[in-house]
């Protein structure tokens, strides 16, 4: 049995590890375009902030030890799949046959078509090389603008602020995290972020990144400008589909897979940020992990179905816990909304009831009760008789469970 894996991010690495655990004999070849061994991408934030040293970025070095007999090809891109012959061709002309092929090619940072996005001093953050380039620039240029006020943009802003940079975050929407929060909660979050010295500019549509050879700022549709000599674009990701398309596999937003992680060719599998399962491209670690594990089993002929991943309701944003579940911005009438808010500490709790049943909640600035409230929303629990106490910090969820 010969298994070839394209990509050594979370999905590729975990698949290799799982295959080896299940089968001591299978041949495994892993190709990674990046020249590094596996590192979890969240570590890049810690590294950027100066909290994690370079040596501690990497994880699971034991997987790559010679004892595991995994063929390592870091810094080597797979250039083409020849599906009818069941071989892959690498960028350096190598030819590798496979019985099962896993596409774990992940995603790349999306760069909107904005004039000036190719200027010196403009970056994205997806890879270790990106992080190293940002830190290199930061040594001499400390006025930073982050384009995109989503989760990743806010984390990048905070990390660079922790390095002492002057940071502004630019967001197109007129509030932060519009899907997870309501306007009041978003306002509190913004204030909490501003307290750390980051400036937040909302409703700002960038028209152009300014500069001749190097970046010097951003101009908005409104005509306003912000000065910056280091810009990080955090505008989402796009799955890496080139190989799959070229091989004629079915591709929508991601590489389409079924519940066994098979693509439209049964001997080719996909997992992680590149894969689309039941119409969803997750882009998160838990999904990459579960998909990779299932794909590893199925490649070896051990049936392990995958039916989807339930993303966590709780995020940590700029140091604050944010839990958001169900309908947080009810539009229809007939909903009852209860709120308790302590803006100074970043606390904001909101429950949305329909006929006494919990249909939505925001829990920000605390983790106490967060997982319970998420579960209650999932169950549409009837909380009518306790709704007056539910938002109190002293409320004991155990007595209602």
């Amino acid at each position: 049995m010969k298994i070839v894996i394209v990509g050594n991010g979370m999905a590729g690495t975990l698949a290799a590890k799982t295959v080896r655990e299940l089968d001591q004999e299978a041949g495994i070849e892993v190709f990674g375009e990046e020249k590094y061994a596996y590192y979890p991408r969240p570590n890049l934030i810690e590294f950027l902030a100066g909290r994690l040293p370079y040596e501690k970025l990497f994880a699971f070095p034991e997987i790559w030890s010679t004892r595991q007999r995994i063929g390592l090809h870091f810094g080597e891109r797979v250039a083409r799949i020849r599906p009818d012959e069941r071989i892959v061709e690498t960028g350096t002309g190598g030819i590798f046959p496979y019985d099962a092929l896993l596409l774990a090619s992940g995603a790349r940072a999306a760069v909107p078509p904005l004039t000036g996005s190719g200027l010196k001093g403009v970056f994205v953050l997806r890879t270790l090389d990106d992080a190293l380039a940002i830190l290199d620039r930061l040594r001499t240029h400390a006025r930073v603008a982050v384009l995109g006020g989503g989760l990743l943009g806010l984390e990048i802003a905070r990390a660079m602020r922790d390095r002492g940079a002057e940071v502004s975050v630019v967001e197109i929407f007129d509030r932060l995290l519009p899907r997870q929060l309501d306007p009041a909660a978003a306002g509190i979050l913004k204030h909490q972020i501003e307290k750390t010295g980051i400036s937040v500019r909302l409703g700002a549509v960038s028209r152009e990144i300014l500069g001749a050879a190097e970046v010097r700022g951003i101009r908005f549709e409104s005509g306003d400008e912000v000065e910056a000599d280091l810009v990080v674009i955090a505008a989402g990701v796009k799955p890496e589909l080139a190989l799959a398309k070229d091989a004629g596999l079915t591709v929508e937003r991601g590489i389409v897979v079924d519940d066994s992680l098979r693509t439209s060719r049964p001997e080719i599998f996909a997992a992680g940020d590149a894969a689309e399962h039941r119409g969803r491209v997750y882009g998160i670690i838990p999904a990459s992990f579960e998909q990779a594990r299932a794909a590893a089993h199925n490649m070896l002929g051990m049936d392990m179905p995958y039916s989807g991943t339930v993303p966590s309701n709780t995020l940590k944003v700029a140091g604050l816990y944010v839990t958001s579940a169900g309908e947080v911005n009810p539009e229809a009438r007939g909903h009852e909304v209860l709120v308790r808010s302590v803006p100074e500490t970043g606390l904001y709790k909101k429950i949305v009831l329909k006929e006494g049943r919990l249909v939505g909640a925001i829990w920000m600035g605390t983790k106490k009760g967060a997982s319970e409230i998420g579960r209650f929303v999932a169950l549409k629990k009837d909380v009518e008789i306790r709704k007056g106490d539910l938002l109190e910090d002293t409320f004991d969820f155990a007595e209602m469970s």
């Binding site: 596996y38 979890p40 570590n43 501690k56 994880a59 670690i285 838990p286 966590s312 940590k316 983790k367």
Partner: protein, 53 residues
């Protein structure tokens, strides 16, 4: 005993179970895990864990 959750991938460290895949026997408190310990699922370090309460 306190459980700790990985904020990147959701893995929960339960001291009652330990982390046998990394030679951590049941009973070890999260605080007592070595600094070199990483999440057995995704590989991030202890600083990305938070207490489950």
């Amino acid at each position: 005993m306190e459980k700790w959750e990985c904020q990147a991938c959701g893995y929960v460290y339960d001291p009652a179970v330990g982390d046998p895949s990394n030679g951590v026997a049941p009973g070890a408190k999260f605080e007592d895990l070595p600094d070199s310990w990483v999440c057995p699922q995704c590989g991030v370090g202890k600083e990305l864990f938070s207490k489950v309460d």
